[in-house]
């Protein structure tokens, strides 16, 4: 593998890790929204 390939691999890996973590936050937000909606429904 060329030297530049390692450089790009490291930069891509960095953003893959960050995006993977951000996507877990988005999923958690979605689940929380559903829980709130369910809670409001059951209160009525």
């Amino acid at each position: 593998m060329k030297s530049e390939s390692y450089l790009y691999l490291a930069y891509v890996a960095t953003w893959v890790i960050h995006i993977a973590y951000l996507s877990t936050l988005v999923r958690r937000y979605g689940r929380l929204k559903r829980e709130i909606a369910e809670l409001e429904r059951s209160k009525r």
């Binding site: 030297s3 390692y6 930069y11 890996a13 890790i17 973590y21 937000y29 709130i36």
Partner: protein
């Protein structure tokens, strides 16, 4: 904060783009390693950001143990979680840099091993918070968080006191750094700090709302039990 958030988002996007430009285009090519040395502009700021977030976890844990303040507990959790993400970046980019330069992906030297140990401590911290049941989880997590943060100085100073494969620090270690390289490094760190702040703020809000919802669900269950009797 709602008004500042979009502005901070634009600023972060600008800083990340500018940092990338500085790292890949403006910063001079290192003579021995060549272009692969540019991994440095992501590898080092990731470690610094992680250590700063572990310090947040440390302070939050101490405040929680002293006062049982829920906000401090949430701050500690957020510091550990986001810090772990940045340390993961550091641990992944390190071997990718090491392979073409050292000829190996990994070596069990003091710096690398101690970093891996700190990473494992924070993984266990998050697993404890995720899976432990009972009222003492936050207290145990705070104690573990303090222990983890106390290991961080050992990671930082390990290359000063032990002979390691890992190079000596570029700042404060007697080495010199080209001003353009230093500029690229600091811009990327600033960008990472802004990004980390935004992620931490979102995670903090998420946790606050999550705990309120859990309380409401528990309260509702109690009401249902009461009305059934």
């Amino acid at each position: 904060m709602k008004r500042i958030f979009p502005v901070l988002g634009v600023l972060t996007a600008f800083l990340l783009s500018y940092g990338l430009y500085q790292a890949l285009v403006v910063a001079p090519t290192e003579q021995t390693m060549g272009n692969v040395q540019r991994i440095f502009y992501y590898h080092v700021p990731s470690a610094w950001t992680a250590f700063l977030l572990f310090a947040v976890n440390f302070v939050g844990s101490i405040v929680y143990l002293a006062s049982r303040n829920q906000k401090a507990d949430i701050l500690a959790l957020v510091g550990a979680e986001v810090g772990l993400v940045f340390l993961t970046v550091n641990l992944v980019t390190g071997p990718i840099w090491a392979r073409p330069v050292w000829g190996i992906w990994w070596t069990w030297d003091w710096r690398l091993t101690s970093t891996l140990i700190v990473w494992l401590i924070y993984v266990s911290y998050l697993m404890l918070r995720r899976f432990a049941a009972g009222g003492q989880t936050a207290v145990l997590a705070a104690a573990l968080g303090i222990f983890g943060a106390l290991c961080v100085p050992f990671v930082y100073f390990s290359i000063w006191y032990f002979r390691t494969q890992h190079p000596q620090p570029v700042m404060g270690g007697g080495g010199s750094l080209d001003p353009h390289m230093l500029h690229a490094l600091l811009i990327n760190w600033l960008a990472f700090l802004c990004f980390a702040f935004m992620v931490c703020w979102s995670r903090y809000r998420l946790e606050v709302v999550q705990r309120r919802v859990e309380e409401a669900i528990a309260l509702q269950s109690l009401e249902n039990v009461g009305s059934n009797r």
